[in-house]
Symmetry: D2
Subunit: 453 residues, 4 copies
Amino acid sequence: MVQKIREECGVFGIFDPSGTLPCAQYTYYALYALQHRGQESCGIAVNTNGTVYQHKNIGLVRDVFHEDASLPEGHAAIGHVRFSRTQTKTREDAQPIVSKYTNGFLAVANNGAIWNRAPLAKALEEDGAIFQTDTIAELITHLLSKEWVRSGNIEKALIDVMQKLQGGYSLVIMSPTKIVGARDPLGIRPLCLGRVQGAYMLASESTAFDAVGGEFVRDILPGEVIKINGEGVASYRENCGKESHLCAFEYIYFARPDSVVDGVSIYELRKNIGALLAKRHPADADMVVGVPFSGLCAAIGYAHASGIPFEYALMKNSYVGRDISPGESLKVNAIQSCVKGKRVVLVDDSIVSGITCAKLVELLRSAGAKEVHVRISSPPFIGPCYYGSYIPEKEHLATYRNTMEELCAKLNADSLGFLDTDDLNHMCPDQKIRFCDACYTGRYIAGPDKEEE
Amino acid sequence: MVQKIREECGVFGIFDPSGTLPCAQYTYYALYALQHRGQESCGIAVNTNGTVYQHKNIGLVRDVFHEDASLPEGHAAIGHVRFSRTQTKTREDAQPIVSKYTNGFLAVANNGAIWNRAPLAKALEEDGAIFQTDTIAELITHLLSKEWVRSGNIEKALIDVMQKLQGGYSLVIMSPTKIVGARDPLGIRPLCLGRVQGAYMLASESTAFDAVGGEFVRDILPGEVIKINGEGVASYRENCGKESHLCAFEYIYFARPDSVVDGVSIYELRKNIGALLAKRHPADADMVVGVPFSGLCAAIGYAHASGIPFEYALMKNSYVGRDISPGESLKVNAIQSCVKGKRVVLVDDSIVSGITCAKLVELLRSAGAKEVHVRISSPPFIGPCYYGSYIPEKEHLATYRNTMEELCAKLNADSLGFLDTDDLNHMCPDQKIRFCDACYTGRYIAGPDKEEE
Amino acid sequence: MVQKIREECGVFGIFDPSGTLPCAQYTYYALYALQHRGQESCGIAVNTNGTVYQHKNIGLVRDVFHEDASLPEGHAAIGHVRFSRTQTKTREDAQPIVSKYTNGFLAVANNGAIWNRAPLAKALEEDGAIFQTDTIAELITHLLSKEWVRSGNIEKALIDVMQKLQGGYSLVIMSPTKIVGARDPLGIRPLCLGRVQGAYMLASESTAFDAVGGEFVRDILPGEVIKINGEGVASYRENCGKESHLCAFEYIYFARPDSVVDGVSIYELRKNIGALLAKRHPADADMVVGVPFSGLCAAIGYAHASGIPFEYALMKNSYVGRDISPGESLKVNAIQSCVKGKRVVLVDDSIVSGITCAKLVELLRSAGAKEVHVRISSPPFIGPCYYGSYIPEKEHLATYRNTMEELCAKLNADSLGFLDTDDLNHMCPDQKIRFCDACYTGRYIAGPDKEEE
Amino acid sequence: MVQKIREECGVFGIFDPSGTLPCAQYTYYALYALQHRGQESCGIAVNTNGTVYQHKNIGLVRDVFHEDASLPEGHAAIGHVRFSRTQTKTREDAQPIVSKYTNGFLAVANNGAIWNRAPLAKALEEDGAIFQTDTIAELITHLLSKEWVRSGNIEKALIDVMQKLQGGYSLVIMSPTKIVGARDPLGIRPLCLGRVQGAYMLASESTAFDAVGGEFVRDILPGEVIKINGEGVASYRENCGKESHLCAFEYIYFARPDSVVDGVSIYELRKNIGALLAKRHPADADMVVGVPFSGLCAAIGYAHASGIPFEYALMKNSYVGRDISPGESLKVNAIQSCVKGKRVVLVDDSIVSGITCAKLVELLRSAGAKEVHVRISSPPFIGPCYYGSYIPEKEHLATYRNTMEELCAKLNADSLGFLDTDDLNHMCPDQKIRFCDACYTGRYIAGPDKEEE
């Protein structure tokens, strides 16, 4: 049996050979820029002259790293933001996972999931290993520790460990003398290399480099292991060679519009999806409205392609936090004067249960919209993800339980259009990209079901 | 000498004759919707069977009213969000100001400023009055208490007290049996009436009514006193009769786009300003970009009027709070793929010191923008406000210290255009409105300088 | 009707002409030393070059003044610890009460109660005064403000105001140029003068002077007003002349054993009460045990006088706070090996409901005590206090509801003895002192009942 | 090389077969009672139907377990209070250490130290083990996990693991179906068994049983392993047989006076030490004063034996926390009226650097004491402890750096007397007990030095 997959996170690391940059502070800024990838918990580990200090807790970056929670500075640091759909949030599961040894330490941060955690953990337990968390980062620490003893260095140990891991992940690891990064051989989770004033960085998304005034250097290759230490950057490609399959949902929803992932501008891609939607699912309407903030780019693309004016007719209250839910109109409000008596194209990124979308349609109708045409910038979900995105069980998916007509009626929309699965291949305006679209198509590159066969 | 004027706040009140609505909770939701009007401190006072309970503190609504800070419920409540440019933030100055008497209580919340606070306070002090805060709300409580003794009820007392107050303000007052609202006779600060399930509400902006699932009824007239109690709504217009002069900056910046103030949709007005800017200050450009979030509406208006495409090329990080300032690119980031090699029209709402604007121009240029044409949706500031907006001393105003050419150069912009002062009269697309534009024109309706003459 | 009297607090003030001492910090230390007089809320107001800063909140000194709550330093400061039996604790009622005027400020801290608060407040309200708290300190601020206008200085104003106040109180007041103290003409509440490195101090108890490394100078006289400013100390005795009547319960319970109040060592007095108890209520016992910590001194006195050994057989857990009540044995535990099979004299300071005392008897019996002889170092309560001590309604007083035999049975004690009312006159070992014993004797020096006649 | 030894902690566990007792809450109460054994951090792990929940943090019990930190209830729980002299306090090192396995969990709490941690940890690391903390509890979890796989149950695994551990320790361990306790074969650290309403408990000291209304059953034997599950209590004595050597400092200082350890009443033992001191080091004095609270019992013993009256002349301020150090007189104050002109015997439990003692002598002299005779209820320290007590390096020990005459002069005492090392054998009034006195005598039962030979 496959365990429920549930992690979507962000990772960051920096190594400054000069020892002059405030690496803990830079990591803190980077975590702000990656906060959209995980809002449940966060943490930073910093290397201060060979000693590791850590601070992590449940909460947003601004709450966990308030003034009291001061870390010392150091010449290297890694950080993590985490999202988890587990029932109980626990501080223990926050990352990085830091281990201390007689001759040093190891700090591991992970974004993604593997589907063979259970047998790997069981084998370790049978050998006497103890697990203080449920995280894959701790599992990988165990595997690394065993290989490390044998191979003598972390990058080699990691190359070997990766051959046991089956899934989609990006890792940032810190030891007393270096930081090491790696991306899964399928290339499902993103990881890229950046630079700031002579220091190198690793991050889930390039926007983290902007946050510290640095610059994007290149994407890490699928299967690549990368080492950053006082001598610069070294690349190990033993596990490479396969094609990249970046999670399509990274393009469509997870990544920030200002990030460039695997050479593709997220903003341009999403605008292009909007244009594809306008072509396949045109609407006779007076305005295009995007759901703030995740539907805005596709809405602009739809507007430009269709010639229908873009309006900012849904406002988001940025003061309302995640925990407070006092009714949809407090979080998002419709501008009556704008939509009253008008035919509206409403663009959002995806439909899961359909409840939120139905509320937004109702919000627009209450504000006087005459027609609401819903356009979704992703195909309908039809199956689970084994590579680190949390997608609910089929029974909770509106697209699984309803025909398109039924769903349109349930949303009380005048028309409904999703991104065509075939159009995924044209997502990127002017280049051919490869990606994983298993949750939309059922075509899994690899996964637990395959193995069972 | 006139003291520096410094308040810009938001007020709310609700009275539920049925006693079934959670008035404290509704006030809490309303304060979320009004949070943009004041982020320094906030407070709520609730009437629980004739006894008043209050909670107030420095901080955002989400911080002050966390779970520990539970207020009892009641059939009436008022709330306040506050912004203050005073040096030291103090909890004592948070509103509402609650006073307790042998026969009841009085809770007062105010948005706005008066310029004769000093002589009024001095006269009271000479009569033995004590002031525990610097707020106008406390001053008004003192004046009300004295009149109340004489007139026997608050609405009458308030009518008399208002004749002594010189400035722009909106008041919401709660006593054991009612809530009373008032708007200054010049109509500089906004106040409107709403309704939710048989209960009446008062709020600085109509968006607060949306937040509790209620509806807008009408604007309070300049000088009007309004009473809400078990018998419904009563209006007292003894101080009315003068023309309205809503603060132009409420239209241009303070109010939320989804609010309707004095019959004018803020969203439509701001789009119209964008169109006026496009007409007066056209630009040969590839895209129009608004500074999120205050410049978005005018940018969309500019785009529609000029035919130049609107792009969402500046992204705001909504997780970064006000207190943390780790560099502009963390708060706002430019999307390189979008602006690279392009000619950009950048639309913002105002220029004070010019520092922020210059940073945004630099951000766009670093991202590759070929040209940046700055358009500002308000005229240049030339003088102070005596009615409740905080505008820095002249020497801190970029528009006062520089010619337009100098400023354009300092911003490193390719061109610079402000809303023409004359165009203020055409702000509202299809109706003639009156407003106060003293800070742009030097034409003060009333004020300390006038009196000195 | 008399309102329920409920305050018992501690006050402190310091004025340093040299401006070199950290007066806010000294006040903070002094409040620690006075914490036993009030654990509900506390506050400090400091004079920094003529500007007043304050911080106050619900909680113990260690909680309210943690590192985040930093006050600036100044050359004068006053502080307050408060106990209140009101139903709802509110931050607003914390003291000092700070008022700001055009020409300065006034900060007032009070220990004690007056029984004519209601008519004084009503008269002020009818004149338009507003009350933001229920405190006597705010009432006195109002009265002072009115007189101040007339008399031109605070000490004179205070002399006049005191003639209107009927009760027992000690005041410490700070204005921009001085601090002023006063003690009620009956001398019911204590106040004394101290000195540290050229600065003068006022405090409810001399132990506060020890806490800052200072020394006791003298007690303030009943009715005396004392002014401390740059010129030193000035005394105003217009209201003096009457005899002192210090609250007997200050001697017996409130004050700390290391304080000297009105020339009497609390420690010696309590030991002497123990000796009186031993004489009047001897017991054939094996050991004397004091209830920690308030019964220890009298227990030692009883032991020395009777020749029965003193044992520390009841242990108090000093980590258990006031809010946590997980059973009596967690707060106080009996040492079995000590009391097993022994006859114990148990000494406590007073009996109110009798519940605590009964639990302690049971605790000793469970630990194996063969006999428990209860001795109480105060006479039985028979009436209320109008001067600032909280004594519950008669129906809640075990000594009112029961005969001595009944009470002894209810406590499950082998014998029971209270301090004889006549022995109050011999409380002090070697001098004749005067005090108020109204709650024990019904002989009220003054009070609301008298007036009603 | 021996690592610096630094732990002194308290442990507790409860297993309730009926499932009706609030075991988490009882553990919380027990930790209050054990708080004197460790004030740095604390934690609780609870077994809720086979799932383990934990909460732990830096801070006192009252701070860590405030209302927000609610744990679910369960039928078994263990808890820990920790003291550590490490430089940096870290939350990660708080105990219990909880590990999760495919088939369950393990929670381990430890009091004590072992001197072969380094080689054991190194061997595990070489086998790939990872350490997330520096605690011996985690080391033991590792060893247990390995043995557990082999032996199939925890009690057997523990018996084997104990043969590898060299030091003094007490363990409480919880698995899904039981709790297991163990005491080191030398019997250096205490552990005892208690009972409350059909549930069994383990605790460092019997006072924890009193705190939950339970009763002491018996001491755990040196080397004994004890299992508590649904079938009751089972004892495993494979590692027993050696003599007990309870840490003498447990008797003299660590344990609470109301505890009974290895059959000895701490209170009676300390009083007896006072009597021994009175015999060996008599003083011609007027009173005996104990340093609150650790010197009180011995002072009473000294007083009773010498006939010199006991006085409570030093007062401790129980509101002053450990972190705030505003001068010795705020924490402890001398009662002037008591000591003025008198010859005082001052009794304390030990002298480390001598600084505190010198301050207390000075405090008494400032209060007017004519003579101060210092009596210490332990022998002078001459060496380190390898079994879990933190004793500073020799160079920081006043008794190592000075002759008795020098030290007496440094303390400014009139005379100085320590408990004679020979009298340790007579500590216990009426029975022969065995104990470890290595730090006083240099006679180590076992230890790293021995091995090196």
